[in-house]
Point group: C2
Chain length 445, copies 2
């Protein structure tokens, strides 16, 4: 039987050029993590559903991909639920595993499981795929990569400064100009307390988070919906506009936030960052989770959402029975970074080239010779290739052109005899007669 | 609710040291693939079951991990099958996706789907996880990585020689002494024809493949079971012992195999391989699949099974409607390579070290100074770290020891004032007073 091949919706193949560009992003991020002393961790794609369920809210539970138990999975299924076609309730009896939904819960599981083998503070990075049964749409996929680094087991604010340096350094390396926005949960809490609406704190921050999208009027309306009168909203919104950290010392809570941010920023004052670090009181991301400083990175030369976010959390591992482990984590949005690189044409052109040289032969004997020359180039660290069939130059030229190979060497009897080869530069047509050692030296320089 | 965290059986976490050792293997293989002009391909973990089912035999179909459809997955399920608890028959109505079982079928799907965008011969490599619902046992996991490279769209025997070079080069780089065994399907077919048992060819090769494990008597018995009389078996077994390729020219089929192998080996004769390439007529792997040369790599200094195999196939993409695309593929067994590296203590010690230097500070002011020095080292490409809390030297020393950090710099008032720092070599206790530039120069040399 012949299948018409297709892909599950929301998933993607990455063909060579795209795969190399993605690797370029991941490698830039990973190299930076390593420079800062973060260590790799890898966890399996499948986790027990008992590990995943209940960690991402009801909506998240629905978006988990569940794996059917192996073998006769219906054997112990509840017959009544089967008869009633109770899809949701039946899950626990036919599926015990799911695909990981993020890298944070598996990380928390690892810290809890191996707590006695780990040296704290534990700095780990993890770059792996995650899966979500979201409705696919532009820029949203059912399989995508997360790039996270976290340090757990210390509440030192030096790490907040370190994560800012990591953002600064990665986006400098990638060539994307960004602004690093920072804020602190306590400042938002201080505002809520001062406005007398601390009971509506979460709803308030959710509204504030939409300021960019729905504007002052929209936020005022949302705040009114949760019972905050326009006079209060107006005060809150006026506070959010303040760009001076020291404005926010009107109560203990807010003062704590200011102090912590000042300590973190103090680490950065002697060596300037390449990108601007900006205090932004309207930044209100992930507050169901973050308990201290919060960060977000946005590109400055193009209209595109956040390229990453991070923050401090106090209770990551408590869901697995390990309390009092403070941590701070950073995350990069690889897919969006890809889109920005694409829009700004920031890809290194070297990624387009599969090999530096193609050896082309006119006959069997020179083909074998070409194979040996290629081996010498490879031993010297130069990626090269040999066209598989000698003769028919037209075909060989077309192959070199299609693959954008920058240099050609054509071999015939003469070349084999003399040991001198014409290195042809495809970009300008220049040909130079060289020995193989000279070719290697030139390509390595 | 607190979960006691656990992992699904047959899956593994890779903590930093293990993850770095695995990355070392993958990077060595990948770097070699790149030198030979192979390009990366990545496919999604989930494939449509219509892509996967029927490609791995009935047993394989059972070992596919199936993903439950999202939402109300029982809505359209066949009620009669539900009532009868027909687990297998019900699968198509509640699950349309599965986890990939190998990298070969997704590759074939990609070649078929993008045939018009691909330049042939197409050389691709792919290093990704695969999943099989096998019974977990020592050395067998439900999630593991495959490292494959294939070239499709050419029947040039140069590629057979190239794949031998790749094996030779990767195992040289890893430091594992190996033997590369080669054989050809046509030689085994020629033997079967000559023995008059070509109808039992597949069963014959399955028996021959067990020669190592069950010996001559065992194979003779198995051959007898499929109707091959002991006299014939004895001839077959005597042939298999021959180590001279040219012995096998007794009929056209076998002669073809000898010729093809000679052409491939001819490419290797001028530049010696580091590891021995050995013709072995008993090598009979994957013959349900391979149509030409077959290869296998075994370590020579340790008793352990095959570390990889490869071979030529003629019809990879025909299951997806694309015929006449010959290819040859190579594969590395990463888990077994890991075990061999472990047994032979071949890990680079550099993998044990998270950073080169730990900066330790006595007070807040020197802590900020340490943070700046660290930034200078990182900008020069040296991975370093700063202990997060100044003071308490004992704790800092213990941290450095636990993480095996090779150099320490302790900063106090004096160091900040003078700009000279004691670089302490932890392996011999030596201390040298240096500027930060001198420290960077020394660590980079």
């Amino acid at each position: 039987m012949i299948n018409k091949p297709s892909l599950p919706k929301g998933t993607r193949d990455f063909l060579p050029l795209q795969a190399k560009r993605r690797k370029h992003i991941f490698k830039t991020i990973e190299d930076c993590f390593i420079l800062f002393g973060y260590q790799p961790l890898e966890t399996p794609a499948m986790e027990n559903l008992s590990t995943l369920t209940g960690k991402y809210g009801d909506e998240g539970d629905k978006l988990l991909f569940k794996i059917l138990n192996s073998g006769d999975y219906l054997k112990d299924a509840n017959e009544e639920l089967l008869l009633k076609k109770e899809s949701t309730k039946l899950i626990p009896s036919i599926s015990e595993k799911g695909l990981r939904y993020d890298l944070t819960v598996p990380f928390a599981r690892v810290v809890a499981m191996y707590r006695n083998d780990i040296t704290f503070p534990f700095k780990r990075y993890q770059i792996q795929a995650v899966w979500r049964a979201d409705r696919p749409q532009r820029g949203r996929y059912r399989e995508f990569y997360q790039c996270d680094a976290d340090v757990v087991g210390s509440n030192s604010l030096m790490y907040e400064a370190e994560l800012i340096r990591i953002y600064d350094s990665v986006f400098k390396s990638l060539g994307i100009p960004v602004k690093i926005l920072i804020n602190h949960r306590s400042i938002l809490e201080g505002i809520a307390i001062q406005a007398g609406c601390q009971d509506q704190f979460m709803a308030m921050t959710i509204a504030i988070d939409k300021l960019d999208k729905i504007g002052v009027d929209g936020v005022t309306k949302e705040l009114e919906n949760i019972g905050i009168i326009p006079e209060t909203s107006s005060w809150i919104l006026s506070q959010l506009k303040q760009s001076q950290l020291d404005t926010f010392k009107f109560n203990d809570k807010a003062t704590l936030g200011v102090q912590e941010m000042n300590i973190a920023l103090d680490y950065l004052k002697n060596t300037r960052t390449h990108n601007e670090v900006v205090f932004d009181a309207t930044l209100a991301r992930g507050l169901s989770y973050y308990t201290g400083c919060i960060f977000e990175v946005v590109p400055t030369t193009i209209k595109m959402g956040s390229l990453g976010g991070c923050g401090r959390y106090d209770n990551l591992t408590s869901i697995f029975g390990l309390n009092g482990v403070s941590g701070v984590g950073i995350s990069f949005g690889a897919d969006r970074i890809y889109d920005v690189m694409q829009e700004l044409s920031l890809w290194p052109t070297s990624l387009e080239v599969p090999v530096k040289v193609l050896f082309m032969a006119l006959d069997d004997q020179s083909h074998r010779h070409a194979f040996d020359l290629a081996q010498q180039c490879r031993a010297a660290g130069i990626p090269v290739d040999v066209y598989p069939d000698p003769g028919k130059l037209k075909k060989q030229f077309k192959f070199a052109e299609d693959l954008k190979i920058p240099f050609l060497v054509i071999l015939g009897e003469d070349e084999v005899k003399t040991g001198r080869y014409n290195l042809k530069n495809q970009s300008n047509g220049e040909q130079t007669s060289l020995t193989i050692d000279a070719i290697i030296a030139r390509l390595n320089s």
